[in-house]
C-alpha cells in the first residue's frame, strides 16, 4: 500500500497560537511542531500521546475548525491535494468526518435520528441503516442526548461519520470513560469503518487501544511525532521501536512491568532523536 497516494498526508506540520502576554506583547505558543504522518484507505492509524499534548488540535486543523488565533505551517494533503482552508470547508462532512470526544458535541435539543442525519444530505434510509448497524432501536431515534447512555451516545457519534459517507474518519478519543464491553464495541465500529475502505485516524492517549485496533501507531510527545511504528511489532517488543520515549511508554504498561522512568523528560532528546515518521510498514 506504500505506493498508492495516501488519503491523508501530514508533513512537518506545525501549529502555534498567538496570545497576548503582558500588555500588548504578543506571545506565540507552539503546540505542534514537525508532525509527520500518513493514512491510507482501509487502515487505522493511531496517534498516541499524553493528554493535553495537542492531539485534538491536529484533528481540528485537518477539518479547518481551529480558533482564529491559531497559525499552521508545513503541509496537509488529502489524496495528494494540498488542503487549503477553502478545500477543507468543501471536504468536511463529505470526504473527511470527525468523531468527536464527548456528548457535549451533540445538540442538547435535537433527537438522535436528526443528529445522525448529515446536515448536508438528507437521507432517511442512511440514518435507518446506521441506526440498525449500531443497534440503536427505533425508540432511540426520538431520544435526546440527555436520555442516552454513554455507550449509546458514543454509537450516535460514530454513526454520524457513517452517514456522511466520508473516506477519511478522524476519531478523537473515542473511548474514554466507557465500560470494557463498550470499548470493544466502539473499536469494533472503527474496524468496521476501515473494513468498508475508509481510512481512520484514531487519536488517543491509551496505547493499549492502539495495539488492539491500529495498523500503525504514531507516538506523539510534546507536539512532535516521535516515530511511527507498526502496531503489532511495537506491541510485541520495545526493541522494535527506536525512540526512548516509545520504549518508556511500552515499559510503563501494566502487562510489561509497570516501570516508570522517573524524572525523565524526553522533550530535549526528541530533536536529537531518530528519523521520525519515515518508518513505513515493516
Amino acid at each position: 500500500m506504500g505506493q498508492r497516494i495516501p488519503l491523508l498526508e501530514v508533513k512537518d506540520f506545525t501549529l502555534q497560537f498567538k496570545q497576548y502576554g503582558r500588555g500588548l506583547k504578543q506571545i506565540e505558543t507552539r503546540v505542534i511542531s514537525g508532525f509527520t504522518l500518513d493514512v491510507h484507505a482501509g487502515e487505522i492509524v493511531a496517534v498516541v500521546g499524553a493528554s493535553g499534548s495537542g492531539k485534538s488540535l491536529l484533528a481540528h486543523a485537518i477539518l479547518g475548525i481551529l480558533p482564529s488565533n491559531a497559525a499552521t505551517g508545513g503541509s496537509l494533503k488529502f489524496k495528494g491535494e494540498e488542503l487549503s482552508q477553502s478545500l477543507k470547508e468543501r471536504l468536511r462532512g463529505k470526504e473527511i468526518s470527525l468523531i468527536p470526544q464527548s456528548v457535549s458535541y451533540l445538540d442538547p435539543l435535537m433527537t438522535t435520528g436528526k443528529q445522525i442525519e448529515s446536515p448536508l444530505r438528507k437521507a432517511a434510509n442512511a440514518v435507518k441503516s446506521v441506526m440498525n448497524r449500531f443497534q440503536l432501536g427505533d425508540d432511540a431515534k426520538n431520544k435526546y442526548p440527555f436520555q442516552l447512555s454513554g455507550g449509546m451516545a458514543r454509537r450516535v457519534l460514530i454513526g454520524t461519520a457513517l452517514t456522511s459517507g466520508a473516506e477519511l474518519v478522524i476519531a478523537d478519543e473515542p473511548t474514554p470513560g466507557l465500560h470494557k464491553s463498550m470499548v470493544d464495541e466502539t473499536l469494533g465500529s472503527l474496524k468496521e469503518l476501515a473494513a468498508l475502505g475508509r481510512g481512520v485516524l484514531m487519536i488517543t492517549h491509551d496505547i493499549d487501544l492502539a495495539f488492539v485496533v491500529a495498523d500503525r501507531i504514531a507516538v506523539f510527545n510534546k507536539g512532535l511525532t516521535v516515530e511511527v511504528a507498526d502496531a503489532k511489532a511495537f506491541e510485541a517488543s520495545p526493541d522494535n521501536v527506536k525512540h526512548p520515549y516509545s520504549k518508556a511508554l511500552w515499559h510503563a504498561l501494566p502487562q510489561n512491568g509497570f516501570h516508570s522512568v522517573r524524572g525523565k523528560d524526553y522533550g530535549e532528546e526528541i530533536d536529537a532523536g531518530c528519523d521520525a515518521g519515515e518508518e513505513d510498514d515493516a
Binding site: G93, P100, S104, D107, M110, L120, Y144, F146
Partner: protein, 344 residues
Amino acid sequence: MTIPLKPNPPLALPRFVILLRYSGKKALRLLLLMFAVSVVCFVLMKFSPIDPIEAYIGGEHASLPPEQIEHLREYWGLNDGFAVRYVKWIRGLLEGNMGTSIVYNQPVADVIAEKFSASLLLMGTSWALSGILGFSMGIIGALNRGKLVDKFIKLYCLTLASAPIFWVGILLLIVFSVWLGWFPIGLSAPIDATAAEATWGDRLYHLILPALTLSLTGVASIALHTRQKLIDVLDSDYALFAKARGAGKWLLFKRHGFKNILLPAITLQFGTIAELFGGSTLAEGIFSYPGLGKAVVEAGIRADLPLLVGIALFASAFVFAGNFIANLLYAAVDPRIREGARRI
C-alpha cells in the same frame, strides 16, 4: 455484601394529569398572591394621607354642607375601620362584586374592562414589536459578531437600556409631535370625538408614539440576551462539530441555533410583562393615554381604594398568567424540562 437497590423511579404520568396537577398548584399560588396583594393595598391606603372626599370634591369642599359630606362618607363606607372595610370588600368579591370606583363613579369591573381594552392594544403592540425586533436584532448581532452592525446594535441597546421610559417618551413627543407635527400630542382618539365616533384609523394614529416609546426601550434587554446566548451556542462544542460536518453559517443557525436560543428569549419576553405594565403606566401618563396605567395613577392620588385594589389584583393575575404561559412553553421547547416535570 448486598448493594441496596435504588427505589424505582416514579411512574411517568399521562401528560394531561401532569398539566392538571401543575395548573392546580399554580392556581393555589395565585390565590395566595392575590390575598397578599389585597392586604398590602389596604394597609398602604390606611397610611395614605389623602382623604378621598377631599380629593373627590376638590376645592368645593368648604362650600359643601357637612351633612352632605357625612352622607358621602356613609355612602362610600369610609366611616368603617379598614379591617371592617376589608371584610366587606372580600365578602363582595366572593359574590363577584369588586366594588364601586370613587373617581369614575362606576363599578370597578366596568372601569377595568374599559381601560384595559385601551391598554391591551398599547401593551400588546409594543410587546410583540419589541419581542420580534429584539430577537431579530440579537440574532443579527451574534451572527455578525464584532462587525459594524453588531457594534451598532450593542451601542443602541446599551443606550436605550439605560434610558428611562418617560425621558424617551418626552423626547419623541418633542421631536414628532411638537417640531414635526406628525403625531398627536396625546389621548387615544381626537379630542372632539366621542368614543363611538373614533375610527380604528384614529386609534392607531394615536397609538403609534406611545407604542414606539415602549418598544424602543423594550428591545434592549431581549436583543442583548439573545445575542449573548447565540454567541454561546456558536462557540459550543456541538456548533463546532456541526461546522466539522460541513454546515455553513446559516445551516448552523437553522439546525442548532434557533431552538437553543428560543428558550431564554421566551423566558425574558414573558418576564417583561411585569415591566411592560410599569412602563405603560409611565407612557400613558406622558401621552395622556386613557388606559389602565392612567387609571391606577388616578386611583392612587385620589385614594380610590376599590379601584386601586381591583387594578392591583388584575395586574398581578395578568403578570402571573404571563409567567405561567412561559413555563408551559418551556416544556414545549425543551425536552429536559418536560422530562423533569414528569418526575416531580
